[in-house]
Symmetry: C2
Subunit: 402 residues, 2 copies
């Protein structure tokens, strides 16, 4: 057992080092600050656009590594994070009439806005970046900036969404989309870590997020649906039947972590049984291995052209989920599940030649898009997974040894 | 030669009959009018949403078949078209403050707006539908409705796009996207057929569209790029390098038809050499056959997840292109090209069991999405291709016989 875990840890450590090296080497824009996000398999920049989700995530990840992993507590990691943070603070916001304002989705190399999404996610990754950067720099104004953006987000989600700019259509009533409470729960975790005052401030919000996420358990506990009505009912059509197994698995470890912190054993059981078992049974491809990207709960063909592709991030989230569940519950079946996902992931995604991981495979497991960074793939899911798994394995091995 | 063409014609006629049968049988909504557009492989409705592009296209196609093909000059075809037209006139528009207003992209079964795109295409298909329906019904108010929407479109494209609701971003200057002049040229063809007054009214617009389309010939005549700057230069990044071979081939036959009508031999040569030869050389998959969906002119991996899939509509457009070019120029190489596309298309897309065509294949040619109708696939590309090819083969065979 210890030997197996040690073997995992060794491989995961090595991968994390290679991934960090890749982004440190190729993604930094020394001229304008911030990070290039469109990076080919060999490190070449194929587009100078800077996607804001990915800027924020990279700042967060650098800071988290700097703050919590000794071998990454290096000045060049901190400097890179600060450069990204400065770029974000200077350019990400597109309007600042009242309140912290919307952030762009995409910027030119020199920071001009290219596109603004009518959703909350650019702003969410802005909060993550600024809060974590404030933690490593001790910059209180930056922490206040993060919190003020967080308050704006909560206002958009729970009070009035009109500031997002999406007109309400008569045939499209508001929907509880699982990404929204998941993202807010993740931010609650970020903002409250080790801070009593914030823990109290966001306590009610955390509980609300959990309730909103649990509404996605549908069909007599047999399916996690991505979109449900605001009162937690299944909605008709493709939108209502959509399943995204990797997303459900990600929600699983968010919930499990929250349950553990609140010492809520009922929620812990729900997290594992609903958000880890169900998406595996529905989402694992029994023929070719790997997790499907999208599925329809009635077995219709999804309308997303990429539905049967194997993407890197659902596999990253699955690894975190099963290892976290095993760490807490010590059920061997959970480690077996981790092993199954690990074997698929490590034999398909890492690029032995140039480092980092491919992101997009065909159903059969061949690389279909070979870039390392793109509009939605940056320095985030892979290193977060490797970092968290390494930490959990450290902890498991420590316990075994003692 | 005649035997080969006769064999093509027979197969194409049979396919057209089957495709018309499929949509007549499964897509009509007897309760609310209009057409279901999300239809599974066996005809089952898997979502009741009604996509407006597809409503307009289906009205157009029914009317065109009714008006110009004897065996489809049947009351039930006309009735279906009228039902779709009435549904569109009643529900498609979402605002009518001044001018004909924006059309929705998607409606509920009973006509409530679900989504509005900030582009011109819903309105374009509205024009196509109304004009063709006016031709078969003799309804002059309907023709005026089509023309008034057309004037609005031209205003949005050439004078002031602010009515589309897309804010201009400092990092995203206006772009000449090939779809826009292509679509307008198609509408010029629609509105002017057999009408001297309209032919004069839209003559300058037609020439403008041609000029805008020709700006997409780039890199010393070696590439057709989907997006160029407003003054016809290549733009940086993925957006500027994007190629869509099927779209270029569709532009090819639009241009060729216009060139023929204007007796413009220089444009005729450009249409064939630039918009039919170039996309075939860049877009045909030499390993597995079929046309790629997207390519990058520098050979980078496109960021569209579906880039290497084989879609039905590029193959439909290619068939029209090569057969039209052969009809006009009689060069055997063009018929060989038609044959190559025909063989791939007819051995991969038609569903022998339930009729109609699959729309989405993997690079290797397997069906990946098995529905017959979806958000972007309706009663349009397949029947328009079969209808136009049948007409052209009729004409070719007539000439051989006489």
């Amino acid at each position: 057992m210890a030997a197996l875990l040690e073997q995992y840890r060794k491989r995961i450590q090595t991968e994390l080092d290679r991934v960090v090296d890749f982004w440190m080497k190729y993604s930094h824009d020394e001229q304008y600050g911030g990070f290039f996000t469109c990076i080919g398999k060999d490190g070449k920049i194929y587009d100078e656009l800077k996607y804001v989700w990915l800027q924020g995530r990279q700042v967060w990840m650098y800071c988290r590594l700097y703050r919590t992993v000794e071998r990454f507590h290096r000045p060049e990691v901190l400097e890179a994070a600060k450069s990204g943070g400065a770029f974000l603070q200077r350019f990400a916001r597109v309007q600042s009439s009242d309140g912290p304002g919307k952030c762009a989705f995409c910027l030119t190399r020199d920071g001009r806005a290219v596109k603004v999404q009518r959703t909350i996610f650019s702003e969410c990754f802005y909060v993550m970046a600024m809060d974590e950067l404030a933690r490593v720099t001790g910059n209180e104004a930056m922490q206040a900036d993060a919190e003020s953006m967080m308050d704006q987000l909560v206002h958009w989600v729970r009070v009035d969404s009109s500031g997002l700019g999406r007109p309400q259509m008569p045939g499209d009533p508001p929907v509880n989309s699982m990404a929204v409470p998941m993202m807010l729960l993740c931010l609650v975790d970020q903002l409250t870590e080790g801070r009593e005052k914030q823990a109290q401030k966001y306590r009610e919000l955390g509980d609300w997020c959990v309730k909103q996420i649990l509404q996605h358990v549908q069909r007599n506990d047999k399916a996690i649906l991505e979109n449900v009505s605001m009162d937690g009912k299944e909605i008709p059509g493709c939108q209502g039947r959509l399943q995204n197994p990797g997303h459900a698995l990600e929600a699983g470890w968010f919930l499990l972590k929250y349950a553990k912190a609140q010492d809520d054993t009922k929620l812990q059981t729900l997290a594992v049984e609903m958000f880890m078992d169900v998406p595996f049974h529905t989402g694992w491809d029994k023929q070719h291995g790997g997790l499907f990207y999208f599925l329809d709960a009635d077995g219709h063909c999804p309308t997303q052209l990429e539905w049967n592709m194997k993407l890197w991030w659902p596999h990253c989230e699955a690894l975190i989920s099963y290892l976290m569940a095993y760490s807490y519950l010590k059920e061997p079946a959970l480690l077996d599940r981790f092993k199954q996902v690990y074997d698929y992931t490590f034999s398909h995604f890492p690029d032995e030649e140039h480092g980092e991981w491919f992101g997009y495979l065909s159903r059969q497991g061949e690389v279909v898009l070979d870039f390392k960074g793109g509009p939605f793939k940056g320095f985030f899911h892979v290193p977060r997974c490797l970092y968290m798994c390494e930490k959990m394995l450290d902890h498991l091995l420590e316990k075994i040894e003692s």
